[in-house]
Symmetry: C2
Subunit: 588 residues, 2 copies
Amino acid sequence: MYIENLKGPEDLKNLGIKELESLAEEMRQALIIRASKHKGHVGPDLGFIEASIALHYVFNSPLDKIVYDVSHQTYPHKMLTGRQDAYLYEEKYDDVSAYSNPKESDHDFFEIGHTSTSIDLAAGMAKARDLKGDKYNVIAVIGDGSLSGGEALEGLNIAGEFDSNFIILVNDNQMSIAENHGGLYKNLQALREGNGKASTNLFTAMGLDYCYLEDGNNIEKLIEVLTKVKDRDKPVVVHINTLKGKGYKPAEDNKERWHWSLPFDLQTGEVKAEYRSEGESYQRITAQYLLKKMEADKNVIAIAAGVPSALGFTRSVREKAGKQYVDVGIAEQSAVALASGIAANGGKPVFGTSSTFLQRAYDQLAQDVAINKSPVTILATDASIFGMNDVTHVGFYDLAMIANIPEIVYLAPSGKEEYLAMLEWSIEQQDHPVVIRVPAADVTYADYEVRKNYGDIGRFQVTKEGKAVAIIAPGTFYNLGKNVAELLEKEADIAPTIVNPGFVSHIDKALLEDLESNHELVVVLEDGVLEGGFSSKISQFYSLSNMKVKAFGLNKKFYDRYDYDEIMVQHSLTPRQIVDDIKIILNV
Amino acid sequence: MYIENLKGPEDLKNLGIKELESLAEEMRQALIIRASKHKGHVGPDLGFIEASIALHYVFNSPLDKIVYDVSHQTYPHKMLTGRQDAYLYEEKYDDVSAYSNPKESDHDFFEIGHTSTSIDLAAGMAKARDLKGDKYNVIAVIGDGSLSGGEALEGLNIAGEFDSNFIILVNDNQMSIAENHGGLYKNLQALREGNGKASTNLFTAMGLDYCYLEDGNNIEKLIEVLTKVKDRDKPVVVHINTLKGKGYKPAEDNKERWHWSLPFDLQTGEVKAEYRSEGESYQRITAQYLLKKMEADKNVIAIAAGVPSALGFTRSVREKAGKQYVDVGIAEQSAVALASGIAANGGKPVFGTSSTFLQRAYDQLAQDVAINKSPVTILATDASIFGMNDVTHVGFYDLAMIANIPEIVYLAPSGKEEYLAMLEWSIEQQDHPVVIRVPAADVTYADYEVRKNYGDIGRFQVTKEGKAVAIIAPGTFYNLGKNVAELLEKEADIAPTIVNPGFVSHIDKALLEDLESNHELVVVLEDGVLEGGFSSKISQFYSLSNMKVKAFGLNKKFYDRYDYDEIMVQHSLTPRQIVDDIKIILNV
């Protein structure tokens, strides 16, 4: 075994091609076995093993800087830079993150997780190198899927004006998470079919030199082409053709399924029984609802930005939706602006993506949508403590971001019926841009009468009248609010008012004023960061009043790979803790 | 005169080429005369008169949809669609906005002001048309300068997959606001030089058909080429070569100066004396400081995203800065990510742009900068009530946006000395991503000792000890705070504490706690929107305390072309009003 004894990339340089190939095989086996036992990316890494070896063979990391895009393809890179144990030994699987991470190694320069950033970040490193007068290589690695993102295209344009060393390695595996979308992919195809020659070329059109390698999983040829561009004094694109999922048949055959996987059975590729979730999920609810809605109304159109799973749009759903579905590629800015254009011309667009990716479209939300009051419907998923928990994918910073943009109505349904009611209302109304915070926890059901009309913007719903304490619990935290109320009544004989606000962008001033007559404390449960969030609007409202406001939620900081239960406890978000805190405040 | 009697674009269709040319001449004269008396865009409109006439001659607006990018080139369009009086008669100059505006006309579909959105918005309109089964033309107009923006490039890629009518008119006047930057401009140049033929082609690389017109200011030829693409059933790019500023010699000769102008003398082109500001300005202070700093430290680099004026980087400053200046084109996402890359590799980047344009880079601020704690310095200009006042350019929504991103230190200097101290500190420190809210009002000077070190994050500065009332007045509003304090002392015999917080992203909990001992009211003066803003953090802090908090600032809504004095009065932001409110609250 070579991989076990590798001290770092410098050891690669003593190996011959055959040995490097054996190493690749060892790495591939380790990655497949690990993937079968530990959730994570599969296809992107299996296809990039040879290129990772060639990069580290030819270049001298960390003096030469290799910057990865998204960085979900860095597992082989991590194995080559001293972190192989995390891929070889089950007890060490959690020693590494799923993305590049400077805290783990000097060979990593950024914590990354969003797409299309590598060219810019690497360009910055090259710029700093030139300012200092240093000489080494800077390499940006980027997949074909990420090229649809505006930031990557901006980066190509900027690099096209550089006049020093800068290598852009385009890893073309002919896939985004799902299939690619957009005209540029016809050009990549033409370039592949012409072995690097075609009637036009996106990269040279951006002012860059260009070379092509058909066999991007061949270590010898990779070393050859990378050696040619090494130490070059002007920018160049190296376009390599690779096979996503290479070496694991199920992953080669169904690339979308195997972009990322839960633990699976090695033989069949099926997700292990204990990880399967085949019951109700908000994504499946979304897809079912939209398919039915589309059938009834040809003006309804679903929009994805490279992540159709946010809408529950599996391949079969996409096929059924036909022309009423559009995937713009990884291009959230365009998805939001496109939705605004559709709405402005009488269509009924529903764009869905993870809250964290919606950050890419802040300006489009504010300008193209909100200023224009375009009646779009946007679904923000994972905008919850219970959403994705890698630092780059955490989605609960959305409240400050989205809910403070004027004109945007941000709705937080507490469960299934309310989610569907809000969706239906939003799609049919013509007056407001609407974002819906799709619950991220298990599907729950209403124990109160769900409103059908949300046109009275900011009107909260009191689901239980009480006194002394009012608990305002939006969205996923509505049930937490109920549990708190029950415990409070049981322990302190206080029957609190329970409020399901429905809105997190607006407050119900009349109700808040009414509460002053027979309440002394308003408790706000915030499934996200407190600063700039929903609860801050309540605190502001009462800032001159005698009403006490106690908000429970997260502090403004970044959270990485946290444990869901622990983070709740750490922020005093269990019913037990909340009730204890209330009792202290009320002195009961 | 034709222009006076034009009822709408349908009248154009009865005119011959010679008459259309006369009309163009009339429009040009009207635009020049108006510009000399009323601030506004000059070059973009003078260069697009003929194309505007040809568009309305060939197409049937508003059935055919023409969507403009930035829309600062819509003055001729407005003249042709019933709004000519606003360009002909001085008393009506203010009847129209500077951008496309659906409130003014059925021929306008969006309120626009940021770049690179037209392709997406128009693509959305085309998509809605196709869903409904309608047949008409959708045309996106976009300038060459806007093509460097990722959203435009995403849009080209998306359009490259469309299979129905969609026309993209690229108005290539070889200029952004300043000169263009990026590799794609070499391709545009090659296409111009080859009369539409070159070894590669950005547009066909995006999967689009393409045609070129050399003489983009020739009405007859424009009509010819537009007639050819009219009713076409697949997307096409029509690339036209135009002259920015055409017909006004000074504007042709100095395109950057004449992108937009204050009122000027028609003969000399000089800005009229009463509009000139040649004294100190924060932009000039920035440029002077940075030039000196760069000379002393070769690792300092200034970054612009198509708007070098935000940094005060006139052409001569840019030339002096040399390699220590980079303009990425209109590409804020890349500017921020590039800065992160530079900082990660030991450089000292300073990126400056208008607050409103920084919205484009929300995700890059959060991910590439904040998560990575890259010690970048970003200057946000116009982030103030006293900044630009077109609805699409208003910059005071920044507090909710920027100050709630974890790790970002958002500083608000009160005047010149503090601004320079913060700049110096930020550039030299290595621990924090820093954004500085550049004051937008007249340059003011400190009456207190300005700190040199801002490393104690969130530490406020008490500039005057007092009691009963504490006035927290960040940034531009510090002087307002002083005026309020004076008036309060004079009228109510209350000598309040005055606090210059310096930070708007963090609060000084120790100080706020101290204030509880001998203050009963904290007044916060917010130069921006209250919801999600700085004052909301203060309200949150005191939400369980007896301290009353009164924040003065703006409500969460969009503001358009407001009067600076009026908006202050409307929001009770004059010293007189504030003191009156304080007296009511204190019952004195």
